[in-house]
């Protein structure tokens, strides 16, 4: 089974590496967004899937990441290799703050509070006009390939590779962290907080940390989206973004890493797909799809695929063991 996991990751990595050769530049551009959303949703996998805290407001951290990069670039001329980590740090710290507040909330109350955060984000961004440019927004300089690669690949392809390298690194990091003690503690808190305490796990620390960690990822994702778009404005970070992230996470599979990847694909391409199905009322199709998924496939796509593959694998192992 181990071998299978490494193989599938290797195939994926190869695919990511080679894809820009075969797809047009704008498609690589869209796949960059997939990568960014996947990173953001990975944060939700940590926070909600593994640790059980619902957040309907992660779009706010996207916004903080995006604006951090924009402001640092515009006002201080900070290059991206510095401003993206800074964006992660700022979002992470604010996430820790929210995490502290969230300690006192759970379930629907937390959903409600984070929903209100998401709704309030655009007007808060608009308010601090001198910093954020108000409703006019801020332009974000584009990311050009470094010297030696100039002319060999386009800016879009460079951004694509940078994004997926970051995504790969973060997924790897997360996989290791969640596979060990940290993951066990987070899961224990999710499944039965009271029992976890009796095992010596300090829920306050882990829950707050999970919030900060997931917010940092969302900040990175927001920074990438801002660089790709070349522009940030309050309208980019409406409640629709937060809801799309959670929806993508749940449809993909909220508690698996593959789910985060699928979630990225869903957030990016589902609206386009739905427009093709019914150009007159795409949101109706989208909404009904959500409802049906929650009734029939609440574990998301990743879990459903696993549910199919797992018995097959098991059967094969038993067969091997017998023979």
């Amino acid at each position: 089974m181990r071998v299978n996991k490494y193989w599938s990751v290797a195939v994926l990595a190869l695919l990511v590496l080679v894809l820009p050769r075969f797809v047009p530049s704008y498609a690589a551009f869209e796949l960059t967004f997939v990568g960014a959303y996947a990173i953001g949703i990975l944060g939700l996998v940590i926070l909600t899937g593994t640790n059980g805290q619902i957040s309907l407001g992660h779009g706010a951290f996207f916004g903080i990441g995006g604006y951090a990069v924009a402001i640092l670039a515009q006002k201080l001329g900070v290059p991206f290799w510095a401003s993206v980590p800074l964006a992660a740090i700022v979002s992470g710290i604010l996430g820790l703050g929210l995490g502290l507040v969230a300690l006192r909330l759970e379930g629907v109350y937390l959903a409600l509070a984070t929903f209100a955060l998401a709704v309030a984000t655009p007007s808060t961004l608009k308010h601090f006009k001198s910093l954020t440019g108000g409703s006019q927004g801020l332009a974000v300089p584009s990311l050009s390939p470094p010297g030696p690669l100039h002319g060999v690949i386009t800016s879009e392809q460079w951004l694509y590779y940078v994004t997926w390298v970051i995504a790969g690194a973060l997924f790897l990091l997360t996989s290791i962290a969640l596979g060990g003690r940290l993951g066990r503690a987070l899961r224990a808190i999710r499944d039965n907080e009271v029992a976890a305490i009796s095992f010596g796990v300090n829920p306050q620390r882990y829950k707050t940390f999970a919030f900060g960690w997931s917010a940092a990822y969302a900040g990175i994702a927001g920074a990438i989206v801002a660089i790709a778009t070349g522009f940030v404005s309050p309208d980019t970070y409406t409640v629709a973004l937060s809801l799309a992230l959670v929806t993508g996470a749940v449809l993909g599979g909220i508690d698996t890493l593959w789910g985060a990847l699928l979630g990225g694909v869903i957030v990016e391409f589902l609206p386009l797909l739905v427009q093709k199905i019914n150009p007159a009322a795409p949101s109706v199709v989208y909404g009904i799809a959500l409802v049906l998924f929650m009734i029939f496939l609440p574990g998301g796509i990743a879990r459903s695929i696993q549910a199919v593959i797992h018995p097959l694998r098991l059967r094969r192992e038993i067969h091997h063991a017998r023979s």
Binding site: Y26, Q136, G137, A139, T229, G230, S233
Partner: protein
Amino acid sequence: MHVRNRPLAATLAACFALSLGVGAFAPAAADEPGITPTEILLGGLHPYSGPASAYGAIGKGILAYFAYVNDKGGVNGRKITYKDLDDAYSPPQAVQLTKQLVEQDKVFAMFDTLGTPSNLAIRQYLNDNGVPQLYVATGASTWGSDGAKYPWTIGWQPDYQSEAIVYARYLLKEAPNAKIGVLMQNDDYGEDYLTGLKTGLGSKSGNIVKVATYEVTDASVASQVASLKAAGADTFFVFATPKFSIQALVAAAQQSWHPRTFFNSVSASATILGAATKAGGEDATKGLITTQYLKDPSEPSWADDAGMKQYREILAKYAPGADPNNGFFAYGVSIAFTMVDTLKRAGKNPTRKAVMDIANHLHETDNFLVLPGIVVETTPKDRFPIDQQRLARYDGTHFVPFGEIYAGRGRGR
């Protein structure tokens, strides 16, 4: 090779040379993206979902007019196809869809892309790649004023700043010491209006005693109106979208506040004011001043106008079910007229550069939905196609135009 037949050889050589020459000078229509022998492909972005979806009607108006033109043979023998996508008013979506339209669908130009944030987001890319961003559907002034930096981008409607300048000029003549209260939507739309008002008032911008803002998520603006009244304003500027404009007028009437009121053109249709009258009584809307540049389809005095009749026929045939009284449809038809006009002038083999040139040298006098006397006109120095407007006063049922046609951005008129 032995050339036996000299005249034949000469002819062949001449043909060859000619074809080279022709190939070099004739704009290769086949090479120009979006142009095929039978079709011109244009791309567009409108919000068909989300809070700004009311503006989607503009896209529908455009499609109706293009269908009408196509039925009559198209433009110089080519049909116009308008690929209009939903960007949900989101800049990242706008950028991705634009790249798709330009690189996959290979549109000839972007036309009537809607919303200031989306247009700001795609402007750099389009200009970097020499793709015309024609007649954008927003009144932000930057499309015209930043023409030097972004030569491939051009607006169409009178920009909000110039509209406010027109109000300011009129007010300075009528009541130079008026105390002004402003209600504005808290975004670039409202801000542009306010900037224009201050510019137009010049040294008298101190006359503004209070500016109150509202958000589109607010349930009511009664509180803002109360603040303005309490600040002692006797002149009220409403820079709001239709829903909040109605609420503002009703609130003012309820609070027994009857200032001289100016009402921005986006919200100034007879339908909207009729709604305000129904909800707030006659007091709410009588004597309102606004500007106009298009004929308002909900205004009964245009009922017998040939242009208005043509508009209604087009909608009835090509957009059945659309409410012709909705001003957004009229906007769509009118701006599509300018687009078709531009393409026609580009001739048999339009190129992007040629079309952009024409857009910078417009002189359109026959747009059948634009008010008589207003000319859609540009020069390389003046890249605001429509900047003339007419003041009009609402008398309870109609808009009665008065005064002359103002040019908001002084072109000496």
